[in-house]
Amino acid sequence: MTAGAVKFGVVVFPGSNCDHDAYYAAKKVFGQEAEFLWHKEADLKGADVIVLPGGFSYGDYLRCGAIARFSPVMKEVVRFAQAGGTVIGICNGFQILLESGLLPGVLLRNASLRFACKYVSLRVENASTRFTNSCAKGEVLRIPIAHGDGNYFTDQATLEHLNEREQIVFRYCDERGNITDGANPNGSLQNIAGIVSERGNVLGMMPHPERASDPALGHTDGRKIFQSILNEFISRTTGESMELAGDVYLSATGGRRQHHG
């Protein structure tokens, strides 16, 4: 795997606040190309992967993600997604994907009414997506959440459809992988934490994988999401599978990882 093979475009809305984290994960942790895409520009600058980062785009006015959807860049993102391009929406980015119609459902206010900021356990329900191919089905990941509106809801027919097509990628679980009410931080229907589009090229998730990518921050399970995305590109372009994260990480950080064992 060569560094810089995949270009990440990180969209910046007024009020985005996880854009630098996503940029850092792509560029510094994984040694890939990364570029910020200002929301007023209708140009994806040749990005292979679009990241809609977390934050409070447009101050969450009206509804989370409702205004961001009308930004010029989103027209291009929708076009990119409809052509099969890889799009990942994290937290507020997930909300924007739902408002844009790229994914079904809505995110309501947390059932607790409280902003939830903590590490949660996620069970990987589908390990054959381009976002989870480096995970095992049933594997439990530790990734942080930070949101006030993460309570996933949709109508019964859509829910059945999501289940049938294995579009539910992550569910909140306890440390042993049991899906329980106690492990549900926001009241989401069936503990849903992340879903993919029917074609599998668009992922929305409330937890923040970019915040669990650098060992300096304690957990690195979020790297599996980025690594999976890279795996997909590598196997597409060269036909080989790869072990990427270690080497690239070492070169990107000058071997800093050694200090963390």
Binding site: L62, F70, F153
Partner: protein, 106 residues
């Protein structure tokens, strides 16, 4: 900033230039409410506060949104159809919200 404070804005709502269009304006009053099937934790919290307030016989509190906007159209039908479109495409999310509105000639 100081200078601005003494200048009275001639067009405080930014609407005058719109009046030139058709000469007729309507005001839309829009109410957006969570669908009955959607839990409303905000309404519940407000309900608890009302209980604490001790004012009796108040229950089933639901919190929604109220939006006003001016529409330049020559007919009430035109104003209604413009309002409908804005509600459908932006103001309400049909997965979780319903909306009602009325238009009034200004």
């Amino acid at each position: 900033m100081k200078a601005n404070m003494t200048t009275k804005p001639s067009n405080p709502h930014g609407l005058n230039h719109r009046q030139k269009g058709t000469g007729t304006m309507y005001r839309s009053r829009i109410r957006i409410t969570l669908r009955p099937s959607i839990l409303d934790p905000q309404g519940k919290a407000v309900g608890h506060a009302i209980e604490t307030l001790g004012v009796g016989r108040v229950h089933d509190v639901r919190v929604g949104k109220y939006i006003e906007m001016m529409v330049d159209e020559s007919t009430p039908e035109g104003a209604r159809s413009a309002t409908e479109e804005v509600c459908k495409k932006l103001l309400a999310n049909p997965v979780m919200e319903d909306y009602t509105f009325e238009v009034e000639k200004i």
